[in-house]
């Protein structure tokens, strides 16, 4: 615990000295960080050689590295609600939040088809925070997607995504805060587990269905 505190205390100092010395390099780093990772994700999604499950696994693996999911969970509850959760509950909440987010993302993968992404120059928001605007362009529409990036423990991490002005952390946060007005933390966790576990279950069922079909096709081929 003590070590953690020292790290936390040292962090702003460290980050401060780094960013003050080379502000332009950070902008370039953020840009490279977002651009390479998002390009990778798009390449995987468009790679027809991989089957759907492989694509999902690969994309989620990248997501685990580039997103600070526990931080997002914490921020979504905010100063007001986070302290209401006991230690064990916090862990459970974080897990559920991550599951929900992943399931929601996987669910939207199918909506990505012919999109290309334009990357703009990141804007510095504070010593450690940047906003990187991107434009997702498809044949008949374009929408703005902002990746919010922070440097923590020497690594760049995405802590929020804004799609046409709608922030993920803020939207989820508003939902939790609304629910907690009339319900307990335990009830929220219960509701979340029912909701988010329903999704992977549906995904699993779908995957099983596809596998079954493939097996049947193979049988027929034989």
């Amino acid at each position: 615990m003590k070590r953690m505190t020292t790290i936390f205390l040292a962090l702003p100092l460290l980050a401060g000295s780094l960013t003050a010395a080379e502000p332009d390099k950070d902008v370039k780093r953020v840009k490279a960080f977002v651009e390479t990772n998002i390009t990778n994700v798009l390449d995987i999604l468009k790679n027809k050689k991989l089957d759907k499950e492989e694509r999902k696994d690969k994309v989620l693996a990248i997501g685990d590295v580039i997103f600070d999911l526990p931080l997002m969970a914490k921020l979504s509850l905010g100063r007001k609600h986070w302290p209401k959760f006991e230690k064990a509950e916090r862990k459970k909440f974080t897990d559920l939040f991550v599951t929900t987010l992943k399931a929601s993302f996987l669910d939207k993968i199918d909506l990505i088809t012919d999109e290309a992404v334009e990357f703009k120059t990141p804007k510095r928001k504070s010593k450690t925070k940047f906003e990187m605007m991107t434009v997702v362009v498809s044949k008949d529409s374009r929408y703005n997607m902002v990746y919010k990036v922070v440097k923590r423990k020497g690594k760049w991490k995405i802590y929020d995504v804004e799609i046409e002005g709608i922030s993920i952390v803020r939207s989820y946060g508003a939902q939790y805060s609304q629910y907690l007005k009339k319900h307990s933390t335990a009830e929220l966790l219960d509701k979340m587990s029912k909701k988010s576990f329903a999704q992977p279950k549906a995904l699993e069922e779908k995957a099983a269905e596809i596998k079954k079909e493939q097996a049947e096709r193979k049988k027929k081929a034989k």
């Binding site: 962090l11 100063r79 044949k139 002005g165 803020r170 939207s171 508003a174 939902q175 609304q178 509701k191």
Partner: protein
């Protein structure tokens, strides 16, 4: 003094979590994780974004109308759109969508002009002229393809009112059209007169054309509402807050 201590003990005995909670709250206040992000997710920021404490006096009606729209979508619009998708290929539907968008030029023109966004006025006018002629009534987008005139964000009359300081009032769910607010909902009325269709066709035909426009749009966005609904603990508030955040962003632009 003694009474005070006794009282404290009493409180501590009956709600053992109280001091713990206070300590936790203090820890959270000093928590860097939060102070680093207060400008975005702190109480003030959430209020500004309209995601905490929403003034929603019509919430009873709104929820009922939201429910109605939801059922209308799943029982009627979606099955119909699926059939339509099966018959009409996607590129054709996209072209139709673009043509309708082109036809809606007057509202974007007036919206940009009244907000004194002259660059947008220019881009919109140029795009309209090129796409209406060479792009065959807007079915294609040569302005973007050859001249690199990208479509700017759509301006409308609600944004004009906001530009001159009119607040959004409160949320209203419109029948068939979905989440809106008092300001944006009222601005639909003058917007009708900026739709060129009403000047060339009688009222039933205009209505049919507008319905077709919305229907074609839905056919291109099947699955998005479903996916959003799955994410939400409470779909009504989720949509309401998302609408507000999106409008705020478009007004800022």
């Amino acid at each position: 003094m003694r009474i005070f201590i006794l009282a404290l003990l009493f409180v501590a005995a009956y709600s053992p979590s109280m001091p713990v909670l206070a300590a936790e709250a203090a820890a959270a206040a000093a928590d860097d994780d939060f102070s680093d992000f207060d400008d975005e997710f702190g109480e003030e920021a959430m209020q500004a974004a309209g995601t905490s404490k929403v003034f929603d006096p019509l919430r009873g009606y709104n929820r009922a109308m939201f429910h109605f729209n939801d059922k209308f979508y799943f029982w009627f619009a979606k099955p119909l759109a699926r059939g339509y998708n099966f018959i009409v290929p996607k590129p054709a539907r996209k072209s139709v969508n673009m043509a309708f968008h082109n036809l809606r030029f007057p509202i974007r023109f007036v919206g940009s002009l009244f907000q004194l966004k002259f660059k947008r006025v220019g881009v919109e006018t140029g795009r309209f002229l090129v796409n209406s002629t060479i792009g065959i009534g807007g079915l294609f987008d040569p302005a973007k393809r050859w001249l690199k005139w990208e479509r700017p964000g759509d301006e409308d009359l609600g944004q004009v009112l906001a530009h001159y300081g009119v607040g959004d009032g409160f949320p209203i769910v419109l029948p068939f059209l979905g989440p809106s607010n008092l300001r944006d909902g009222l601005s639909i009325v003058p917007a009708i007169f900026l739709n060129p269709v009403i000047y060339v066709a009688d009222t039933p035909t205009s209505l049919a054309v507008t319905t077709g426009e919305q229907f074609n749009f839905i056919s291109l966005h099947l699955g998005e509402y479903e996916s959003m609904k799955k994410d939400a603990l409470d779909p009504y508030t989720f949509m309401r807050d998302a609408y507000k955040q999106n409008r705020e962003k478009r007004i800022r632009e």
